[in-house]
Assembly symmetry: C2
Homo-oligomer: 278 residues x 2
């Protein structure tokens, strides 16, 4: 049976590929399994800095980190002082976008689905503010409260009603980087978004992106992220499910917001079977 694919961290047992040798630590496309046969290292990055938790290479130092970096810096073209809104803000990508935006001198508000997540954003991750979208019957009114002068940048992770409310609150020349629309993935028919006229009125740019088109920027990003981490300027929160057996429940939990921070499935510890999958 074909294993489910995922982006994981692993130790090379044996390799015929000239770039990899037994004992190398790597991150990239692996399977939800204890041992993977990888025929195409596409992508597979060698891990040189192992003085940080290896699981971080499924998060801040891996694909979600590069996603946040590419989406925020490359797609959103942010400027100091701009007003930034991040949905799914305590997730693997959102927590980093918000912290990058704060480091750039932006005003940053995040939305999340529980009081604990909101506390995390406000008290640990330096967000200027955060709110629980489940407690807001009127998302438009909530956004008007947090962004009385409007939103310059929206980092879109959820879609649907949130996007519709955001469109009403965009500022002139606002930018929306579309990373994902998790609220829409499991619907038979996606929700209709009605407020697209704002795109003309406010000259808004909406742009979708996918991280694999930015893999060439990974070395530059890694240097930046490691420096920020070592200086204590960025923190990263993970939610680790122990053992492969708990993987399916952890995956399902992403869609109900059960996770707190980046969801990781720990297949085995380094030195044992050496693999941690997202």
């Amino acid at each position: 049976m074909q294993p489910i694919n995922g982006i994981g961290v692993a130790k090379v047992v044996d390799s015929r590929h000239p770039d990899f040798k037994g004992g190398d630590l790597v991150w990239g496309r692996t399977g939800w399994e204890e041992y993977s046969l990888i025929t195409r290292p596409d992508p597979l990055f060698k891990i040189s800095n192992s003085d940080v938790p290896l699981s971080y290479y499924t998060g801040i130092l891996g694909m979600p980190g590069l996603t946040a970096y590419a989406g925020f810096y490359e797609v959103c073209s942010p400027k100091e002082g701009e007003c930034v809104f991040v949905s799914a803000a305590s997730g693997a990508v959102g927590q980093l976008v918000g912290q990058f935006a704060k480091l750039m001198g932006c005003y940053v508000v995040g939305s999340a689905g529980s009081r604990e997540k909101v506390d995390l954003l406000k008290n640990k991750m330096w967000f200027d503010d955060a709110f629980n979208y489940k407690e807001e019957p009127d998302l438009n009114a909530a956004l008007k409260r947090y962004f009385p002068e409007g939103i310059d940048i929206y980092f879109e992770n959820v879609g649907g009603k949130m996007l519709d409310a955001v469109l009403l609150n965009m500022r002139v020349h606002g930018r929306i980087a579309v990373c994902g629309m998790i609220s829409q993935y499991n619907l038979d028919k996606p929700e209709g978004v009605s407020n697209l006229m704002s795109i003309v009125y406010k000259r808004v740019r909406i742009e979708g992106f996918i991280v694999f088109e930015f893999y060439h920027k990974y070395p530059k990003y890694l240097d930046m992220a490691l420096a920020y981490m070592r200086e204590g300027k960025i923190i990263y929160v993970e939610d680790i499910a122990e053992s492969l057996e708990n993987g399916p429940a952890a995956l399902v939990g992403l869609f109900t917001g059960g996770n707190m921070g980046k969801q990781v499935v720990l297949v085995s510890h380094e030195g044992k079977k050496d693999s941690a999958n997202q």
Copy 2:
């Protein structure tokens, strides 16, 4: 009573502004009236080339022309050979976008609301193909027929169901320049657009724009448009309503597709009262 504003062509009767003098022909923001008192020339462009129909300065040589130019060349970043779809394609702006795209070596299809308009696009304006959206019960199927490999550039004038169908047919890195959404202007609540996930899957960029942000490009555009016209490489079709009394009906006709080409209201002929308003 305040007159309705519009972009018109006029002759200056008298002026205290240093840039304008009696007898000058101008185009810019005027009123739906025989004589206008213009206190802010914002914008008001002097007409130097009067060897073309003066009404063209309400169209190809004026605001709609610059709109087509800015939206197509600046917002869509077109490349030779790309597949371009234009809605409201026989209108003031659409007919130019399609012809600019053809001149660039693109494959161009337009949609319009009558057989006569479709004929005009195919037989007079060099569009590769065109269809009557009112005869297409399934817009997605129609677009798949005309764009079997998908759409690189969509010049959006209508919104609603057409945008929803276009989103399903965009190619990777497609661009949508949002000029207007005429199908939505008079609805109590705009239609919902459901297929926005394509923005992520296909890394689509959607961008709204407004012509007044491109007025500094007008001299460059005018040179280009005059040259194309004189070489016979571009034609421009107008629908002229004679006399101000017919203006309101002509305006209403825009929303039912009554016009064929750029709708102009002729207030008076040059040499008489000297004013033609859009």
